[in-house]
C-alpha cells in the first residue's frame, strides 16, 4: 500500500519500509507459517539494533515485547491493556506491520461498532441484483485477515457493547467464520498467520466489561507508563524532534524544559514526588503521549509567537489543557501541586521558576 504523499501520519509499514526490507533481507531465522519476518527480526524491529540501522521504537519494557511476539505465535490472541497513552496502539501497529506487512486491518471499536464490523456486511446494490454472493459480500477487516493469514488489530475493544465483542469468541476459538448466506457449508477458514491484537482500557470511563469467555481467548499484557524520568525525557525529546523536523522548525532550551515537564507528569501520574511528598492525583491521564503533545504545542508557541526559546512558562500555559479535561477538581489539584511542590523547586533552576510564575497566573479554579 502506497501512502498518499500528503498523509499526516503514514502507517508503520510505510514509515519504516526500508528497515523492514533490511530485516527481511538479513533474516535467517525460521519464520512461523504466514509470517513475513522471523520472531527475532520482529523483536529487533521493535527494540532496535544500531548495527543493522534499526531504530528502537518501543521503550521501557523489553520482556513485554518478547511475550507479545510469542503470544501471537500461539492459538491465543494478544490483549494489550493499560492506561491511555502508554503506546498500546503503537505497539499493536508495529507488531502487525512487522509480522504481516500491514497494520491497516483495523477494527476501531466504539459504542457504535456492530457485528458487521467484525464479521461481514453486504454491498446492498449487488445483494439486491445478484442475491447473496461472494461478490456482494463486504468482508470485515477480521474476515480479510483470516483469509489472507494476517494480523487484525482491534482497537478499544472495551468500548464496543459486550454482545459485539463476543462475536470474536468463536472466531478466535474455531479460527473459522460461517457464511450461511453463501450456502449451508460456506465457511471462511483462517489461514496460517492470522491472529488478533486487541487493545483495551479497563479503567477508563465509558468502557464495558469483557466476558470471561472472551478473556480466556487472549493472553493479557499490561503496558505500564515509563517509570524512569531520564528515559521518559529522552523519549519525549526524540518525539518532539520527529514532529518538528518535517516542518523545519528548530528550537532552543528544550532539554531543561522537557525535564521540568517529565518530572511534573511523573509526579502527578504517580501521586508522589521524587522527594516523597504525596499529592492528589488528577483524574486526567498524564501519559507520555500527552507530555509530547504539551511539549510540541509549547515549542510551536515559542517558535511562532515568541522568540524561539522554549521556557517553563510555555509548558505551564499548555499543561492546563491536558489537566483540565476530566474533572473540575483537577485544576485545584494542579494548583496545589504548583503552590507546594513547584514553588519549592522554583529556587533551583530557571525553568522551574518560569514554570512557577506562569502557572501561578493560570486560572485553575
Amino acid at each position: 500500500m502506497t501512502p498518499e504523499p500528503q498523509s499526516i501520519r503514514p502507517p508503520a509499514e510505510a514509515r519504516y519500509a526500508s528497515e523492514l526490507a533490511t530485516l527481511a533481507a538479513a533474516d535467517r531465522f525460521p519464520k512461523p507459517a504466514g509470517w513475513r519476518l522471523s520472531p527475532r527480526a520482529v523483536r529487533t524491529f521493535l527494540l532496535g539494533d544500531p548495527r543493522q540501522g534499526i531504530a528502537r521504537k518501543f521503550y521501557g519494557d523489553d520482556p513485554l515485547v518478547d511475550r507479545a511476539i510469542v503470544s501471537l505465535m500461539s492459538q491465543q490472541g494478544l490483549m494489550l491493556v493499560g492506561e491511555p497513552g502508554t503506546a498500546k496502539s503503537l505497539l499493536s501497529e508495529l507488531l502487525a506491520a512487522a509480522i504481516c506487512g500491514t497494520s491497516a486491518l483495523v477494527v476501531q471499536g466504539s459504542a457504535g461498532t456492530t457485528e458487521d464490523h467484525i464479521r461481514y456486511g453486504w454491498n446492498y446494490a449487488l445483494l439486491l441484483s445478484e442475491g447473496p454472493s461472494e461478490r456482494a459480500l463486504v468482508p470485515s477487516p477480521v474476515l480479510n485477515a483470516m483469509r489472507s493469514g494476517r494480523i487484525v488489530r482491534f482497537e478499544e475493544v472495551t468500548r464496543c457493547p459486550p454482545e459485539v465483542q463476543d462475536a470474536l469468541i468463536s472466531i478466535l476459538s474455531e479460527k473459522a467464520l460461517a457464511l450461511p448466506e453463501l450456502g449451508a457449508d460456506a465457511m471462511a477458514s483462517a489461514t496460517p498467520g492470522f491472529n488478533v491484537i486487541a487493545t483495551a482500557n479497563l479503567r477508563d470511563r465509558g468502557v464495558h466489561e469483557m466476558s470471561s469467555a472472551l478473556k480466556r481467548r487472549f493472553n493479557f499484557e499490561t503496558v505500564h507508563p515509563i517509570a524512569d524520568p531520564e528515559f521518559e525525557r529522552e523519549l519525549v525529546l526524540k518525539q518532539l524532534a520527529e514532529r518538528l523536523g518535517p516542518a523545519g522548525v528548530t528550537i532552543k532550551g528544550e532539554r531543561e524544559v522537557a525535564d521540568v515537564l517529565v518530572r511534573t507528569f511523573q509526579d502527578l501520574r504517580t501521586g508522589r514526588t521524587a522527594e516523597g511528598v504525596s499529592l492528589n492525583r488528577p483524574d486526567a491521564v498524564m501519559s507520555t503521549a500527552e507530555a509530547v503533545n504539551v511539549l510540541h504545542a509549547a515549542a510551536l508557541e515559542a517558535v511562532y509567537l515568541d522568540n524561539g526559546t522554549l521556557s517553563g512558562a510555555h509548558i505551564a500555559r499548555q499543561i492546563q489543557g491536558v489537566v483540565l479535561k476530566d474533572s473540575p477538581d483537577d485544576g485545584k489539584r494542579l494548583r496545589a501541586y504548583v503552590d507546594h511542590v513547584v514553588k519549592e523547586r522554583a529556587g533551583r533552576s530557571g525553568a522551574w521558576k518560569e514554570f512557577y510564575q506562569a502557572a501561578r497566573a493560570l486560572r485553575l479554579g
Binding site: 520472531p39 518478547d66 479497563l202
Partner: protein
C-alpha cells in the same frame, strides 16, 4: 579480557571459578572432579568450619543447611553476640565439592579467614543474619553486567547469568564452561571499584586463601582442586606466601543448623546467591532431563499448587498454553530450554486475564513465593547442636508443633479446657519473650488489660524457621533449658530498661514480669524477683507504680489459667508495689502544678486497683491505705487534687459529706479570678468518684446555689469550665443530672428537654446548608 587459566600445571592446581548456589556450576564441577581425579579439594569458606566438614558430608544431612558462626561484636562500647550464616543448598558447588572429597576419601578443607576475622564481617554492618558468602552484588549491578544485559536483551544480571551459564547445565564441555565463568567474573572484577576491593577485605581474604592453598600443596601430592567464587579466581593463581591466620579457640563458635529456602532467598537480598532458590533446586533436579522437562514441571506444579491452596486454578488449555509460551520465549531468546524468566514470563502472559495494576499482581507474588520454596534441611542427630536447641525442639514436638518445615501455620489453643493447650500457649509466650521468632499471637483473651476475656481460644501464627534455631543457638551460651533461657532473656531485658531510659519504671519491669508469667516462668521467677523489685522501689512516679500494681493484680486474678501454683513471688511483688504506693501517695502533696492531672489520674486508677484487689481477695494490706490518705488529705493541696482526695476519703469512709460540701461551696463562690480554679475542686471529685453526684445531693445543691447566684456575665464565664468538669459524665448521667436539677428548682423534668418546632422550609434550608458544609469538608479532606 582474558579468562584466567583453569589449570596451573606447575603446581598442578585447578582453580575453579564458581558462583554460589549455581546448579550449572555444581553440575560442571561434578564433571571436572570426575575428569581431574584430585588428591585434595579446598573450598572458599571460613577455615574454622573445618571440624564441621564430616557433618556436612554425613549422608543424613539434607540441604538446605547452614553453618552459623557466633562472635562477639563491640558496638557503642557494649559487646553483643552476632550470628552470621554460611548457607549450603543441594546445588551449592561448595557442598558438591566437599561431598565428592568425602566419597573419594581425599582431604577437604576450607581456606578462607576464620568467621570471626574482622575482614569477614564488616564491623559497620554488624547486622544480625549476615551472610558469610561474600558480596555478590557485582553480579546484579555494575556497569559491565548492565552493558552485557543490554547487549543480550536481558532485563538484569540474573537473566544474563541464566542465559549464559545456567542453560549449560548439561553441556559436556566443562573446560569451556569454567573458562567462560572465569572470564565473566574477571570482567566484573575489572569493572569493580579498586578502592572498594581494598576496603571490603577481599585482598586480605585472598592472601589467606593463597597461604592455605600453599599449605595444602606442601602436604599433598597430586592434583588439587580449589573451588572459589569466580571473583577471586585470578588472585588465587598467584603464588601464596606468608603464613595463614589460624582460628582462635575463644573467638567464637560455629554450628551446623537446618536452614530454609525462604532464608536462602532472603540472603539474596544481601547479595549472596541466586534469588528464588526453589526454582534452582528444580533446575538441579531436572539436570538429567537436560532442563527440558523444567517448564512442564513448574507450570503444572504451580497450577496444582493454586488448585490446592483454593485459588483460581487455571484450566488445562491455559496450562498447555503456558508451557508452549515458555518454550517459544526460550527459542526467541536463543536458549536451549526455558530459563527462569521465560517461565515467569509465560505464566504471566497466560495465567493473568486482567490488567496488572501497580508493580505486581497477586498471582505473581504467589508464584515467586512458591518458587522460593518452604523446604527446610536436616542435620544428623547429635550434630553438635547445643542442648538448648534439642530441648526446645523436643518440647515443641511434644506440644504438637511441627518443626520439620518452615511453613507458616495457625494453631488454635483451647486454653481454658485443655492442659496441653495451656502448656503450648505458655511455650509460645516463652518463645516470644526470648526473641525466637517462632510464634505470634493473633487473637485471644488479654488478662493483663482485662480485654476480650470472653474469648475461649488463643490463636497463634507459628513457623519453625531456621532463624528460630539460630536464636536458640545464640542463647545456648547462657542456657540449657527454655526456663533458663527465659530467665536469662528476662534479666537481659530488665538490664536493658536502663539503657532505654526506663531504669526506674515499675510499669516497664512489671510488664516484663507479667509477660514472663504468661510464659510459665516457674522457678526462674525467684531469680529475677530482686531485679524487678529494684525497679519498683525506685520508681518515683505514682501512676507508674499504680499501673504496675494493676498488672500484678490482673496476673493474680488469672493465676489459675496462667498455671501459677506457687504465688510467693507474685505476693512479694504485690506487697512491694503496694508499699511503694503508700510511700508515694502522701508525696502527691508536693507535686508540681503540671503533674497534678497525672496525680489525679493515678488516684482514680488506684481506686480501681483497690476495688479489683478486694473483689479477687488479693493479699494487700488495705488498712495501711487509710493512714496514707489521711496524711495526704491533711496537706495543703491543689484544689483539683484536693477534690480527688476528699472524694476518695469520703467513699473510703473517712471524710464527712458536710466537709466536702463546705469546701465545695467555698471554692465555687471563692474570689478566684480564673473561673477554672473555682471549678477545679468539683472536677477532682468527679474524676475520682462521680457517683457522689447522686449519693450526695448536697453537691448538686451547692452547685445550683452558686449558679443561681451568678449574674449573666459570671455565668457565661463559668459555663465552659463547668462543662469541662462534668465531661466525664456519659449522656445518661447528663440526663439524670438535668432531671435532678429540674426537680430541685421546681421545674417539670419533662420540660428540661423540649421539642422545638421548626417550619418545614427552614428545615429544608438547614438541610441544604448541612449538605453544602459536608461537601466543603469533604472537598478539603477534613470530613
Amino acid at each position: 579480557m582474558q579468562s584466567p587459566p583453569l589449570h596451573d600445571p606447575v603446581r598442578d592446581l585447578w582453580v575453579v571459578p564458581i558462583r554460589h548456589h549455581s546448579p550449572a556450576c555444581a553440575a560442571q564441577l561434578e564433571r571436572l572432579i570426575a575428569a581431574v581425579n584430585p588428591a585434595a579439594i579446598v573450598v572458599e569458606g571460613p577455615c574454622d568450619f573445618d571440624p564441621l566438614i564430616p557433618l556436612l558430608c554425613d549422608p543424613r544431612t539434607r540441604a538446605p543447611v547452614a553453618v552459623v558462626a557466633l562472635r562477639e561484636a563491640a558496638r557503642d562500647g557494649a559487646t553483643r553476640r552476632v550470628a552470621s550464616y554460611f548457607p549450603f543448598c543441594a546445588h551449592s558447588p561448595e557442598l558438591i565439592a566437599l561431598q565428592a572429597a568425602a566419597s573419594r576419601g581425599i582431604p577437604a578443607r576450607f581456606i578462607d579467614l576464620p568467621a570471626t576475622a574482622r575482614a569477614m564481617v564488616d564491623e559497620d554492618d554488624a547486622a544480625q543474619g549476615r551472610s558469610l558468602l561474600g558480596d555478590e552484588r557485582p553480579f546484579d549491578v555494575g556497569d559491565y553486567v548492565t552493558a552485557l544485559a543490554r547487549e543480550l536483551g536481558c532485563r538484569d544480571g540474573n537473566e544474563v547469568w541464566d542465559q549464559v551459564f545456567e542453560t549449560r547445565l548439561t553441556d559436556a564441555d566443562w573446560r569451556g564452561f569454567f573458562a567462560d565463568v572465569g572470564q565473566y567474573c574477571a570482567c566484573i572484577r575489572a569493572a569493580t571499584d579498586v578502592v572498594r576491593i581494598a576496603r571490603d577485605g577481599t585482598l586480605v581474604r585472598e592472601t589467606q586463601m593463597r597461604a592455605l592453598v600453599a599449605e595444602v600443596r606442601a602436604q599433598v601430592a597430586g592434583p588439587i582442586i580449589v573451588v572459589v567464587g569466580g571473583f577471586h579466581a585470578t588472585a588465587l593463581l598467584a603464588q601464596g606466601s606468608g603464613s595463614a591466620v589460624k582460628p582462635e579457640d575463644t573467638a567464637g563458635r560455629c554450628y551446623l543448623i537446618r536452614y530454609g529456602m525462604r532464608q536462602l532467598d532472603a540472603m539474596a537480598g544481601y547479595g549472596a546467591g541466586l534469588p528464588m532458590p526453589g526454582f534452582y533446586d528444580r533446575l538441579w533436579h531436572a539436570r538429567d532431563s537436560g532442563g527440558r522437562a523444567l517448564a512442564v514441571e513448574i507450570v503444572t506444579g504451580f497450577a496444582r499448587h493454586l488448585r490446592q491452596s483454593g485459588g483460581d486454578a487455571p484450566s488445562f488449555p491455559v496450562v498447555t498454553g503456558a508451557i508452549e509460551q515458555a518454550e517459544r520465549l526460550a527459542a526467541l531468546r536463543g536458549r536451549p530450554f526455558p530459563a527462569r524468566d521465560d517461565i515467569l514470563d509465560a505464566i504471566r502472559s497466560t495465567f493473568i486475564k486482567e490488567e496488572v495494576v501497580g508493580d505486581d499482581a497477586p498471582l505473581l507474588v504467589a508464584l515467586r513465593t512458591w518458587l522460593t520454596g518452604a523446604a527446610i534441611g536436616e542435620v544428623p542427630p547429635g550434630s553438635g547442636a547445643p542442648p538448648l536447641v534439642d530441648a526446645v525442639r523436643a518440647r515443641a514436638r511434644a506440644l504438637g508443633f511441627t518443626v520439620a518445615d518452615g511453613e507458616r501455620r495457625n494453631r488454635t489453643l483451647d486454653i481454658y479446657r485443655k492442659d496441653r493447650h495451656r502448656a503450648a500457649s505458655r511455650f509460645c509466650h516463652a518463645m516470644v519473650l526470648i526473641g525466637a521468632d517462632f510464634a505470634q499471637r493473633t487473637a485471644g483473651p488479654d488478662f493483663r488489660n482485662d480485654a476480650m476475656l470472653d474469648r475461649l481460644f488463643e490463636i497463634w501464627d507459628v513457623c519453625w524457621s531456621p532463624l528460630v534455631e539460630a536464636r536458640l543457638i545464640e542463647l545456648s551460651e547462657a542456657a540449657d533449658t527454655l526456663d533458663e533461657a527465659l530467665a536469662f532473656a528476662l534479666a537481659h531485658k530488665l538490664a536493658a530498661l536502663e539503657a532505654q531510659g526506663k531504669g526506674r519504671s515499675a510499669l516497664a519491669a512489671i510488664d516484663l514480669f507479667a509477660a514472663a508469667c504468661r510464659a510459665g516462668l516457674g522457678k526462674g521467677g525467684e531469680a529475677i524477683l530482686q531485679l524487678v523489685e529494684a525497679h519498683v522501689v525506685e520508681d518515683p512516679e505514682l501512676h507508674s507504680v499504680v499501673s504496675a500494681l494493676a498488672d500484678l493484680v490482673q496476673v493474680w486474678r488469672g493465676r489459675d489459667i496462667l498455671g501459677i501454683t506457687d504465688t510467693t513471688v507474685l505476693d512479694s511483688l504485690m506487697a512491694t508495689a503496694w508499699r511503694r504506693i503508700l510511700v508515694l501517695l502522701p508525696e502527691l502533696a508536693d507535686c508540681a502544678t503540671e503533674q497534678v492531672r497525672a496525680g489525679l489520674t493515678a488516684l482514680a486508677d488506684l481506686r480501681g486497683v483497690i476495688a479489683l484487689a478486694r473483689s479477687c481477695a488479693a493479699p494487700l494490706d488495705l488498712a495501711l491505705f487509710d493512714e496514707a490518705l489521711a496524711r495526704l488529705a491533711a496537706a495543703d493541696l491543689d484544689p483539683l487534687l484536693a477534690g480527688g482526695v476528699l472524694a476518695f476519703a469520703l467513699i473510703d469512709g473517712q471524710g464527712s459529706p458536710q466537709a466536702l460540701q463546705g469546701r465545695l461551696r467555698g471554692e465555687l463562690a471563692s474570689g478566684h479570678v480564673d473561673p477554672a480554679e473555682r471549678l477545679a475542686l468539683l472536677g477532682g471529685v468527679i474524676a475520682v468518684a462521680r457517683e457522689l453526684l447522686w449519693s450526695l445531693p448536697e453537691i448538686i445543691a451547692t452547685l445550683n446555689d452558686v449558679i443561681a447566684g451568678a449574674d449573666e456575665a459570671q455565668f457565661v464565664d463559668l459555663l465552659p469550665h463547668l462543662r469541662l468538669a462534668l465531661m466525664p459524665l456519659d449522656p445518661r448521667e447528663v440526663d439524670r443530672l438535668g432531671e435532678d436539677v429540674a426537680a430541685m428548682i421546681g421545674a417539670r423534668p419533662d420540660h428540661v428537654s423540649m421539642l422545638i418546632a421548626i417550619p418545614q422550609a427552614e428545615m429544608m434550608a438547614n438541610l441544604a446548608l448541612d449538605r453544602e458544609l459536608a461537601a466543603v469538608l469533604d472537598r478539603d479532606g477534613v470530613a
